[in-house]
Symmetry: C2
Subunit: 407 residues, 2 copies
């Protein structure tokens, strides 16, 4: 079994890096805080006696390749260590640090694997500063050109390539340089299902599709006191109608579709001026590709009607679009078997969040293990998982990895 | 009649001051751009041979007090020269520069008034950077303590008193030091009525009440992909419901009530995080005090229901509350008589915007003159008034002033 004190200690140590003046955890991709987190992770890889590699998009790899197996395709474990704004400490970091922990535990036990084992920390999984999310793993899997990704402009106007160079993580390995035999990602659920069912483990069978769009509505600035309601071209009011439309539709549809408006900006954003412009994001998700297409189409139709009704101009920019993914049945079954061997209840679940596993599934058999999130809360400092569950998840990962590298 | 070239020349000269990198006119109260505009105005007062005075809240006065009448209460003309963000060049400036123009024209013609004539430029009429609006005139009229006003914190975190000192306009005169015999303000209508009726002049009989509130809604940040709609405490969605409520109510009520949500901010404002906090402003106006009270109460009731339905916490902060004002019937009639003498059609109108006249009406008989705004557009770079209308308005002001200072 894994070294509990080491894993939990590192989780809280990494979680202390990137606190802002208000104590909020903000370790956005390729920021100074991200640099500090990366440096710490690299120091732990080195302390474990693994080889460190960094690719052009800044993905970090800790490689354990015993002499006899250097030519064999590696088993890859991993996740990400960038965070959202005001984040919890488990999202991503738990999977990365557990991957390292599993390798160290196996190495210390004298185990000799039949293939290399690699732990990966992928760049910019959250997509908060640079869109799309899961960018590092997407580039790694060949789904996005590295140069195009490095040219991405962030919400703060910065360019990802410049920022990676600045923080010292513009590596020279070509993304995809290690083709994994298989990929396994351990992660907190970030949703309420496992806790509600009282089950400590989830074998993730599939992952929903993600559609990200940015909508800009342009009306006309005018005086709040003198402009009759009938003469207004109010971009803010039109934007509010979209927020309501998405909610009403998600409620009425009675499907697992979720829709979120997370960002919203008004211009000129003055108390006595009718907004001339509203810019906001739409995050739409569904495990079914056809239904996700339908929801996108319904939004497009609504925006067309809205544009007429409110006499506004609407433009839509696509920020990300990922299809739903079905994970590898053999690895999912291996996870269930490992849980059963430790007499830990385990349930098949769908991932609501996007994960690096979704991208790596394009190039290798892939699966994920979930542990419960208290109250279903994530992307929030209240994000939390019981220590026992964290330990159970890491031990199941250990068992699956040992199994997959001993035959 | 007034010097047309001088008035129009100064209007465009002042309108060129405070352009940002994108060419937008942004001369917010007590900013560097405001300093530059004030300096120019003061240079014109001095060139006209008037005395310059600045009071503690930064109101600027150009005083024409011929030797025999220094002890008599002055007739005051005025408005403001601060602007909104991305403003037009007429709002406020037209009244200030016409006031100066009227004094210079009378002075140059050899006219000797029976009382001093003063032109005033009041600080922070727009209220965009510091709330409430009409702050300089409110303080001048004794409606707000000067020290309290100087301690106001702006949207950018600055303190008004510090900023006035920084730009050199923290004067030493006590606000209210000149008690006006009467006050007249010439202004663009900023609304569509005069243009629609094809009338070049408005004699403003009254001015609607203004209620400004800031609403903060607090929900819970959570993951956009994993959180079922039923479990969300979405501050952004709750805010959108308020925007829709205000619009539906204003439309249904079939009264002149107008409601505007001009500012909106989400937190953490990230694409894949349900907003934990939404902050927005509500601007409610009605010429009838009782109805304005009713609208405020209806909003308060709605927020209570909303708080239950959306499981969010709502706090409301009052930023400004001004009662409707009826202007002085004798001055309004004098404006109508002056228009008639020049055979200019003139109509009684209600002001939809707040004005410094609304504040000075507390301490002196007051009225306003309006000229048409093309397309009813204001608080927008497209704000515009035909030169003929600008000239007509200034000449009617000239005639009324002459009349009121010759008996
Ligand atoms: N796991 C996670 O939070 N990923 C970020 C991408 C997403 O929004 O799902
Ligand atoms: N005239 C004018 O635009 N005043 C600003 C205050 C208001 O919002 O009415």
């Amino acid at each position: 079994s894994i070294n509990v004190a080491r894993l939990l200690g590192r989780l809280s140590e990494l979680g202390a890096i990137g606190r802002d003046a208000d104590g909020r955890l903000v370790r956005l991709a390729a920021s100074d805080a991200d640099r500090e987190g990366r440096d710490r992770f690299v120091s732990w890889i080195e302390a474990a006696g693994l080889e460190v590699a960094v690719d052009r998009i800044g993905n970090i790899f800790g490689i354990w390749a015993p002499a006899d197996v250097t030519d064999v395709q590696p088993l890859m474990l991993g996740s990400h260590i960038d965070t959202v704004i005001d984040a919890g400490i488990y999202d991503g970091c738990y999977g990365v640090l557990s991957g390292l922990e599993v390798i160290e535990t196996l190495k210390e036990s004298g185990f000799v694997p039949t293939r290399p084992i690699v732990v990966a920390a992928f760049t910019n999984e959250e997509g908060v500063r640079y869109a799309p999310d899961m960018m590092g793993s997407l580039v790694y899997a060949g789904g996005l050109d590295a140069d195009a990704a490095l040219a991405t402009i962030g919400t703060d106007g910065s360019k990802l390539g410049d920022e990676l160079r600045r923080i010292g993580y513009a590596g020279d390995r070509v993304p995809g340089f290690l083709k994994p035999h298989a990929y396994i990602e351990l992660h907190i659920e970030q949703g309420p299902v496992l806790e509600r069912e009282g089950v400590p483990l989830g074998a993730v069978g599939n992952l929903q599709g993600i559609s990200w769009q940015r909508v800009t509505i342009e009306g006309d600035a005018n005086h709040a006191g003198t402009t009759p309601i009938s003469m207004r071209r109010d971009a803010g009011h039109a934007a509010a109608r979209v927020v309501i439309f998405l909610r009403e539709r998600a409620k009425a549809a009675n499907t697992p579709t979720v829709a979120t408006v997370g960002c919203m900006e008004f211009e000129p954003n003055a108390i006595n001026v009718i907004p001339s412009r509203a810019t906001f994001t739409v995050d739409l998700r569904d495990p079914d590709e056809e239904r996700l297409n339908q929801e996108e189409a319904a939004l497009a139709r609504f925006l067309e009607t809205l544009s007429d009704e409110e006499d506004v101009t609407i433009t839509v920019e696509r920020l990300a679009r990922f299809q739903p993914v079905k994970f590898d049945e053999r690895i999912v079954a291996a996870i269930e078997a490992a849980a059963e061997a430790r007499t830990l209840p385990c349930r098949r679940v769908t991932s609501g969040a996007g994960h690096d596993a979704q991208m790596i599934a394009r190039i290798a058999p892939t699966a994920m293990i979930f542990v419960p999130s208290m109250g279903g809360i994530s992307h929030n400092p209240k994000e939390s998982t019981a220590d026992d569950d964290l330990i159970a998840g890491a031990n199941v990962l250990l068992d699956v990895v040992r199994k997959m590298t001993e035959e």
